[in-house]
Structures are given as C-alpha cells and as structure tokens.
Symmetry: C3
Subunit: 522 residues, 3 copies
C-alpha cells in the first residue's frame, strides 16, 4: 500500500481527534493548570490584562483614530507578554537581551505609552499630550531599554551610519547632486541646481535616513479640541541611518515595521527589498531568482518564522536574508551554528558594493574617515588599489568568511562551499578588472577634455560619459557580484544588468570617446 502525504495527513487527523476524545479526561487536570495561566495570557493579547493605565488612556482614543496600528499592535508579542516574563526565559529562546529593565516597564505589556514616553527628556520632540510627555519618534535609544545588545550591535553596523557616510563625504555628495539636482537650461545647456530637502528625503535619504529636526509646533483641531504638536523636518522617515531627535542613529522600524514588530517580518526577505532591490544593490532580485529564493517562495508556508532560536532544517530548509546575515541559528540538536548579530559586517569579509571597486570590508562603520592613496574619501583608488589600513586584513576577512560559511555548511558539503567561494573571489577580481578598463577609458576622456573630470574641478558623475562609467561599476559590476555571492549566477550574472550589459557599456564608452576625438597617436 502506498500512502500519499494527504492520506497520511487525514489519518493522523482522525487519530488526533480520537485521542482528543478518549484522553480528554486525563488531560483535563493538566489543562486546568494551563488554563489559568492562559487566561492571563489571552487577556493580555486582548489588551485587557497587564496594559498600563497610561497605555489604556492612549488606546481610549487611538483605537478608534488609528485602528490600523492599534490592531497590529494587539497581534504583537509586545502586547502579549511583559519584560518580566520575557526575562524569565533562560537560554537561547530569550528574546530580550537586557539583564534588567526599568522597574515601571517590568510587569506591563509594551504598549503605546511605554515606548512613546520613554526617556522623555532626551527627545527634542517630546510634547505634552493630554498630560503625558509624548515623543513622536521612537528610536534605537528607546528600544535599547530592553534590546540592549541588538541596539549596541546595530550602532556598529554600516547601516546605522548610512546618513553620515553619505552626507559627510564630499565625493558622494557630488554623486548625490548628479542624481537629485534640479536641471534647468542656462544658455541652452543643462545646469543642476541643488536639490531641496524634500527631494533628498524621497531619494537617497529614504533608505539612508534623514536628519530629523524640530522646527516649531503646530496647533491642530482634533476631536479632543485644539492641540499642539511638534513640527519635525525630515519626517516621516524610516531609513536605517536616520539621525534621531535624541541624537541616536537609525530606525529599528526599517526592518521591524510598526506596530507588531514581528520577527516574522524581519526574517522573511520582503522587508529587505525596500532598500535592496537594485540595480545598485540588487540583493532581493538576485535572491528571489536564486535556488534559495525559489525554495523559499515555494515552501515558506510550511516553515516556522517565529521559533527562537531558529533551527536549520526543522524551521526552514533554505536561507532567507536574515539566516545568512543576522539570525541566531541552531542545528537539529540545538547547538549554535551562528550567533545572532545586528552588526551585519561580522559575517561579511568583502564589500561587494563597489565604490568604485569591490574591496575588503571597512573595519569601522563610520567610513567617512577613509582616505585612499590620493587623499580621496574612497576605500579604493581609481586604479583599484585598496585603502588597506581602513579595511579588514586577510586574517579578519578569513574570520568573517568563516562566520558566513557556517550557515552554508548546514546544507552543503565543504567541497561545495569551497568551490562556490573560489568563484566568488574570482568574480570580485574579474569585475574589478572590468571596472579598471572602464576607469582607464574614463580617465582618457577626462584627459582629452571630452568631459570635465575631477582634475579640473568637475563633478565626476554628472555628464553622459560619466554616467556610462558609473553604470558599469554601480549597476553591472554590482549585479554580477551579488549574483555570485547570493545565487551563483543565472540571468543576474549574464543578461539581467550583468556581464552582457557591462561589455556593451564598455564598448559604448570607448565608442563615444572615439567618435568625439581621435586618440593622440593618430
């Protein structure tokens, strides 16, 4: 006889039901104990139990005014437990890293008031709202009260520094102007006027984060009468490197969106797509087309995205972004495979997002200090040489590679992983070679005066030929490297913003130059 899984399933279902009937009496005694505990739990879920009186007051109005976020919160872990109970969990299942939390938070659900009144004096957007000192923007500084390790790790992450790393780098500011500037014709030629803050907030700073500032207050008529609210420039924004009103960096909500802050959301790849869809960083696209992504898309409904720790094979059978980069993983016996980290670079030996070339990962999250041999704020020089003293050394790279490969090896034999890794290193080298060819042509174009390069005070990114050059390293070389790192190839290694296009654009750049002015020797 052959049992298909669905036959088996229905038999098991029958079995379960019968057991339910016959053993129900015996179970009852056990269950009564659970029931009492559960009642507390269930009522908490419904927001009736350990909700603080301050939060009750918030809910009084906001449950009606903002049902979307209130209902979302009701489904959250924050609503259904308390820090005290979370701290009672020992071992790898513990989700709260603080050893202790402020006394007033311990035995209440983490509701509206708990976060939005925390550290009131440190937030410049704190305002009086029905007698409570509320701040609009909750920050990693607040989350840190319970999630201290994660906050501290995150602050050492490149992402937390995404605002400063972009805005405080003169060269990147020229790139930003070449993208966001407002084009107007002046004597028949395009000139770029500086972009305004709203434009920057919708482009680069959408992901990098804005700098928030309180610029005044505004009275609004509400159901409760007229009320004053702070005006915050740069708001709204959920960028990973946001500069907050308590001077902290980042937005936990970039990956843990409001107000259920669900671990499932952070573990599924979708939330990463917002900033990593490409073509500059096509991580999500590459992942979705990879075998890993294929399996995730097919099988995710059968997986468990909530278990902590996260068990390879049992909870999932192919990695998501979080598996390789962030999550605490255990094997079938519960042994730690990878410790949790919010300092993503712990598992990253190379930075494959080329600036201009791919290079060993920076040692520090604040990369504004980096200078290449020519004194430019870039991790490589224009010939591809690394600004080594700011970058991971070979030993550090080996450690980071091992940290990353620990998860690979849960499913793949060492020979597989090594073969894969060798190709990845080859791809870094080869794409850097292609970038070098492109840069040499670009330099020749600048030399011949066909475009105004940095040597003559020009913005190196704003002319047509310069955009062809940046296409090559910013889109095509990156696509090829992400495909190599995350899937091994396929269309994102060949035809989808990859090798085909890199070669085409190289030819176009050369062709453009040659059509305009013959080489000196001719």
């Amino acid at each position: 006889m052959d049992y298909t899984s669905s036959e088996l399933g229905s038999v098991r279902h029958e079995l379960f039901k019968c057991q339910g009937v016959y053993f129900a009496m015996k179970r009852l005694s056990v269950i009564v104990v659970f029931l009492i505990a559960t009642c507390c739990g269930l009522s908490t879920v419904r927001g009736e139990g350990s909700v603080s009186s301050a939060t009750e007051e918030c809910l009084g109005c906001h449950a009606t005014i903002h049902p979307g976020i209130v209902e979302s919160w009701k489904k959250s872990q924050h609503a259904s437990t308390t820090p005290a109970r979370a701290m009672a969990v020992q071992g790898l299942g513990r989700k709260i890293s603080a050893k202790d939390v402020p006394e007033e938070l311990k035995n209440v659900s983490i509701g509206c008031a708990e976060c939005h009144t925390l550290r009131a004096k440190e937030h410049k957007d704190t305002f009086d709202h029905n007698g409570q000192d509320i701040h609009v923007v909750v920050t990693p500084g607040d989350c840190q009260s319970c999630h201290v390790e994660e906050s501290q790790q995150f602050d050492k992450n490149l992402m937390a520094h995404a605002y400063g790393n972009l805005v405080n780098n003169d060269l990147y500011q020229q790139l930003m102007l070449s993208i966001n500037g407002s084009p107007v014709l002046d004597k028949g030629r395009i000139i770029l006027k500086p972009s305004n803050a709203a434009t920057d907030a919708e482009s680069c700073l959408y992901c990098h984060g804005t700098r928030l500032q309180v610029t005044g207050t505004k009275a609004r008529t509400t159901d409760m009468g007229e009320m004053e609210f702070p005006i915050i420039s740069g708001w709204p924004n959920q960028g990973v490197g946001r500069i907050n009103l308590d001077d902290t960096r980042g937005a936990c909500t970039a990956c843990h969106p409001r107000h259920d802050f669900s671990i499932e959301t952070a573990r599924k790849p979708y939330v990463c797509k917002e900033c990593h869809v490409g073509p500059d960083v096509p991580a999500f696209k590459v992942y979705e087309a990879s075998k890993h992504g294929n399996i995730f898309s097919t099988k995710q409904a059968e997986w468990n995205f909530k278990n902590v720790p996260w068990s390879v094979g049992k909870d999932f059978t192919a990695p998501t972004c979080a598996v390789c980069h962030i999550s605490l993983l255990v094997d079938a016996e519960g042994k730690v495979v990878s410790p949790r980290t919010h300092e993503v670079k712990n598992r990253l030996p190379w930075r494959i997002f080329g600036l201009v070339y791919a290079h060993p990962h920076p040692k520090e999250a604040d990369v504004t200090v980096i200078r290449n041999k020519d004194g430019l704020p870039l991790p490589t020089d224009l010939e591809g040489g690394f600004a080594t003293k700011f970058l991971l050394n070979p030993q550090e790279r080996t450690e980071a590679a091992q940290a990353m490969r620990a998860s690979c090896q849960q499913c793949h034999a060492k020979s597989w992983v090594e073969g894969y890794w060798e190709r990845f290193l080859n791809t870094i080298e080869q794409t850097n070679t292609s970038t070098l060819a492109a840069t040499q042509i670009m330099q020749e174009i600048w030399k011949r005066g066909l475009a105004t390069g940095p040597g003559k005070g020009g913005n190196p990114f704003d002319e047509f030929s310069e955009k062809l050059w940046s296409d090559i390293w910013l889109f095509y070389a990156n696509s090829i490297r992400f495909a190599s790192a995350m899937g091994g190839g396929g269309d994102y290694g060949v035809f989808a913003d990859a090798r085909y296009h890199m070669q085409k654009t190289l030819q176009e750049l050369q062709d453009w130059m040659e059509a305009r002015k013959p080489a000196r020797k001719q």
Copy 2:
C-alpha cells in the same frame, strides 16, 4: 513564565478540543439549526441546489469540456448564493447593489446561463446554442443587473474609456504607431508601416481593450455534432476599456477574473500587475518594494480578504491597491472610513502618469475632448502649463486628496501624512521641472532640424532622440512619481528607472544634439 505564541496556540488548541467534548451536547441543539441551513448552503456550493435548469444543461457538457472554469465557478460566491439571499443582507455587508433584480435571477445561483443568456437581444454575438440564446462575451451591461452601482461608477472611471482615450486621440495614435509600426527599410532607412490589428491587440489594446466585432460565423465539429459559432474580431480580450458587442465599455473580468469572480483576487495586488507593472506605470513594482508591500507579502496569509466591509487593522494591517483606491473600509468600530468606489478618480487629485507632464486629474473620464492652449489633445502644453478647464480645480483636488488620505490616517498621524503629502507635491513639481528641461532640448533639436518634429508634420515620437525624450517623461518621471505616491522612495526613486536615469538621459539628449550640430551662437 513566558508563553511564546506557539505555546499559547497549542494551549488554546487543547482548550478548544476539551470544550468541544464537554459542551458538544449543549451545542448540539444550536447546531442542528445551523446544520439544516448549512445543508442548503453546502449543496449550493456543490452546485446541486438552486442551479437553474438552463445552467444545469450547460454544466451537462461543459463540466467535462471546460473543467477549469466550471470548477472555478463552483468555488465562487456566485455558485453558493442567490441574488435573493444576497439582497436580504442589510447594511455594509451587502455585496449586491441592485435594489431589485430580474425575477428569473432572484432565486437561482448565478451560473453559466444566467450571465451568458442575459439581455440576449442586445448582444451582437448572441447565437443559438442547443436551443439557448447564448452570447460569448459577458459585459458590464450584464453585470449591471445585480451590480448596478459598481457598473455605473466604473463607467465614469478613466479605465472604462481606455480604448477611446487612446484610439481617438491623434497624438496618441502617433505614439502608438511609433511603438507598434512594422519597420521595413526603404532606400536604406527605416520606415514604419501601420501595424495590423493582431499586433495592436497584443500591445496597447491588451490593457486598453479592443473593439469587438462579429465578422461572421464558423461551423465547428464538436462532440454534439456540427455547431455554428460567431467569429469575433478583437477576441479574446479582457482590457478594462474593451468596446463590447452590446456597446458597453469595459471588462469587469480585467480585475475580477473568470469564473470565480473572487473578491480576494480584486483585493490582492497581483491582478493589478497585469497592466501596471511599468516602466510607464510601475505601480506594482513600486508597491511590492514599499513598506506597505513588504508587510503585505509577509503577512497576507494571516489577513482576511473576504470580509465585507473590510476592517482596517482587523482584516489587514497594511494597504493593498484596492484599500487605497477602491474598497469600502471601516474602522474597528465598524464606522465607514472610505466608501467603496469603482470610479477610481474619486480618490485621485493628480494624474501622475505624465502626458507629457503630471497634471491635475481630468474632470471627465472621456479625455478626448481636452485641448491644451496650442490646440493639441493633451492635458498640458509643451511648456508644462495645464489645460485647466478640463482638469480638477484646487477645491476638487483637495476633496480627492482628503478621500485618499482618509485611509492613510487609519495608521498614520496627521503630521506623518502631511509630511508625506508635501513631498509628493514637491515631487510632482520637480519632475515637471525636469520634463521641462528635456522638452526644451527636444524643441531645440526639432528647431535645428536634427529630428522632424510636429511643427514640420513629423511624428514627435518615432526618432531616436525623440525616444530619449519620451524615456524621460514616460518612464523616469513616472517612476519617480509613483515611488513618491506609493512608497516614499527607495530604489524606484533613485536607481530603478528613476532620478539617476532621468539625469543620464537628459545628458544623453543634450550630448546627442551637441555632437550633431553646434549651437547657433558658436
């Protein structure tokens, strides 16, 4: 003690089972009542109950010939209820807007014959099929018998006029020719011969809708012997603006595909993708990468896509396309947040799909009447001025914006929504500024005779430099605006068909011009 959600879940499961055992006796009396009702319901679901004899006859053959659509229909609400029962529902839960329906439809399931024989005399494709007067193409005119408000609203929607708005506009016809024309070499140069109907049906008219026409009949050999069927040119097509054989406009099946006509399909974003994937209207791509889309992708399995009315927060915790544009929404207390509308422009103050510039939304769905100040059939002139008398005035725009923002405010504070909206308006202005720069260069190119523009009787869309110009407003400016409207930015605001590419193409256009002929002053 700490209860994880899965522990809680299993406890609740135990609890449920025990209750099931002990209270089963008491419930039985209640259940018996339900059972009787359910039996009717269930049998209807199985297509055994209130199926009309005409439909029974259809099913006799078609259940075997076309199991795909018959089984799909069996799972539908149409199969499991009757208009009479649907009309008995009072209040917001009512799904049928007709106050009364034809007597013969009232007490039967809505099956094959109900729709395909309705209004037989008005359909030019009605033919005798085993003694029934069947028409092939069911239209909004048929659906209107039960769904009168939706049909009437839809007819005032831009989409319903998508065929005429494209085909009856001389300028858009030139754009269409420049895309669909058949290129052949004549004396070594490309000329475009007019496209044939099949090509048009597979390109622009696939979404805009074809004009259906009965051109004859054809005999086919079937299992039932030889039968005559109408030949319909333009068929198949499910475009939103299809011109039907009863002279109605549109295809409800564009969004409510056959034959389950599931509300779930219309409420999930996927069905919108067919026509709105871009790069001209990249709504789906932008949505999927937005935080809203991230949350939808992650959480949709937990949401309820069938409840009517649709409760913000309870049924879903992030919007889909339908939430913002169409659906009837209520808050946690059941109060209406947004009324249902199939006249999508009710919630749209601006048309961000640039023709050539973004502009206030047209007042009327038939936009062929619009003339700009130069007499061209465009909502803006080439300098960006609006053809104001055909477009929403500021007061009407404010009302439409409020209708849209009603849904935003279910999850976001007013200051959030206002900050977001200000950026959106800035983006409209800025992208129009960029389009102006591009258009000024294009006009200079036409002036210099480097391309044959409309002033000299040329098609303004068919040459290479003209395509560079249309790339700017049709793809890049639109992407930037959709990213602004629907997500706030991210890659679709910068690197994915957005600001980077707009600037690059502007430079390319200028570069192209300057390489061909020096400016007059030089």
Copy 3:
C-alpha cells in the same frame, strides 16, 4: 439569509467537531486498522522504519553536520515510502515509472546511501568514505533507476543538451566571449581576453551546466579524523545540461531541488525563474504579470500541488509553467488531458527564443548539427530563412500545437484559443520582420566597415553597434514573443523590454550608422 464563506466555514467546523465526538466510537474500529498502517508510515516519515542500515550510518553523522538537507529529506516522499510501495500504485497516480528496480532498493526508503552509492563504478567521483563507495554528484543516470521514463524523456529535451549546444557551436562561443571575456586596454582600446572557467561557470554555464571533472583528491580534517575527498572542477553546479561524472547529461536537481525533491517545487513557477527570468528568456516575468500568474499568486494557497494525476479545476484554476509544459493533467472525470512529458518540446511547435529569428522548433535536441543555407551553425540564415530540414515541418508543428492547446482548452473555448493562437503566429512573423530590418542595418554597418563583421573574421557580437543589434533580437523580440505566448501582452508586449524598446534601438542603430558615415549615395 446570506452565508459568507467564513460563516459557512465555522459552521462546518462545528459540525465536524460534533461528528467527531459522537461517531468517534464507531470510527474507532476503522481507525485501529489505519493506525497500525499509519504507525509504519509515521515511523518511516521519522526515518526510523525502512531506512537502510547504510543510510542509518550516513545519518549518524550527517544529521548533525548537515541538518538542512537531512531535515529536508525527512519531509520528502523519498523518506516516507519505498519503491515497492510506490510500484504497487496502479494507474495515473503512480509516481515511479520503472517496471522494476534493483532488489536492494525495493523495500527501503530512498535515503542518502541509496542514491550516493548507486552505480558506484560508473561515477568517476566515487571515493571510499567510511567503508562505503560514495559519489558526490547524483545524476539522471542514478535517478533513472526508479524514474526511467522521465530520465529518457529528459535526455531528448533541448535542456539536457544545453551544455553541448552552447559550447560546441563556434558562433555561440563568440557570443559567450563577447559577454564573459576579460576586458583590458591594449594601446588604448579594449580587447577581450578569454574568460576563465570560474567566470563561465557563474554566467552561461550556471544554467547550461558545467562539465564536471575529477582533478585530484584532497585531505580534510573532520570530526572523524582526516579523510580524502575528490576535487571536482566545475562543481558545484545544478545546470540542466551539466556533463556528469558518469557521462550522463543534466541535473534533475535543477527543477527538483535537494533533498526533498518535492513535486510541489517543480509545479510552482518559482523554480523556473532561476534560469528564465530574462531579459533573454523572460518567461517568469511575463508569467507573473499575466492573468494566469495573477491568479496563481492570489489563489495558490487554496490549490493542491501534490495530487497525481493533477486535476484541472479541482487542484488548480490557472496554469503554472508545469501545467502547460510538463505535467500529467486530467479533467474532472479523471480523463487524461495531457500526458506527462519531460521532453518539453513535445508541446512546442515554435522556438520563440530567437537565434537570430524565431523559427520552427528543432527536430532533435542536439542542435549542433544544424547548418543554415550559408553553412553557419544557426537555425535561420541572416535574412530569416529557416534551416528547414532540421526543424519541425508543418505537420509536426500542428501536432505540437495541439498538444499545447489541449491544456488551454480546459478553460477556454475554441474560438478563444484560436484567436489567441493567430495573434501568436502574427507576433512571430512581425518580430521576425523587425529583426530583419535590424539585421539589414547591421549588415550595412559591416559593409561600410563601421564594425568588423563575420565577413572580415570579426566577432559579430562584441562591438557597440553589434550589441544594439543583439539587444533587438535577444531581448526585445524575445520579450514580445514570450508575452504573446504566455499572457497575451500587457507591459511586456509594449514598455517592458518590448516594442517600445525595439523601435528605439532600431532607430539608435540607424542613427549610429548615419552619424559615422553617410550612405553611399549621398
């Protein structure tokens, strides 16, 4: 009264529970029988029952070392049944096509050892591993032991020959060089050095498959002490045309990924995306945006992806890739609609992936034998004429079309399918016309010496103008045809790598030529 589906659902749930209570006693006798059988089944699922002692030994270490694949396998059909039981299934539900299998496989689960020790002498990568003769790479030659028909069919599939068809074709090798070559500047101009094996493995051969070779052995320190493992060049790779170490072709794991080999994975479209995301073969993108894809995305959670045979309408209500191209389909009465085939071309009359033009499908899977009238290894000549003797004749095309259309007709009337098909044939013709125009310009460019064409020994794919030409047929014409074949149009027929871009690039190519050298007559 109106019953919404959720009300009905809850009533049915109540009904079920009550029945469970009251009929549990009666069922018990039946269930006991099932229980005994189930116990075997369940224990097998847990890997306790019929697991061979060799596999038990593997699991002893690998359950800990590689929990990802071991847990994945535990959830597989391979783990939960045996060939003997699979062979006991009669009729269409049978999943094993072998009439008999090796005796030692019959009554055990198909675990690690069963596949990785099979046909040990035929695999060059067989090595001694704890006393067992293990080979690393399991091949179609191994899978064939149980799945003989599928393996044989697959071997006649174009995909199985994907390696040789690319690598043994001189012209395609030039295309490959133009994409993968390493660009360096030589006297100021780009020259392409041959790519290395790692680059090829990450680009073209990622999907086409690598040629595996054992190049030595390597000692590794493991928990079990030092062990020797083979070094395999070209590994890892799961390309469909991989050349294996037992001289077989292909990798079943391309579509049935390790180690659950789930039929669900092969039936959902995601796994196809890895190689068919485009822009060269944008099948997945087109599908996802098609009505079929919209419905799949919306409804898949309600479908059954495991039933064999697969029942149209009952198990699914819109096709996935497998439905149209591969799967065994039955109608509502269990009658075969389409027989299963792993020789995909059985249902393909045309090859719409243009080389250079779309053309009737090749007769044989090994296409290296094809020569066009000019002696080039292409299925068409440069004027679009077909190398007819190597391609399906009209009669064969009709048969293949009927095989494909059999599935269409499960949901669509014949007039629909015919209208659809006519447009598809028109699109093949029209895109070939456009490709002809592009090729004529390209030939003129070669003639004028503006690029070095094949007539002068040049690589026809490596210069900028040549890449413009290949964009037209490789990306845009293909996109248009895939949109036509798989969805009927929408954005992939117009603005997404389609007609708009084809026309733009045609103009660019002409423009490029004219800017460089005037036509002879001028």
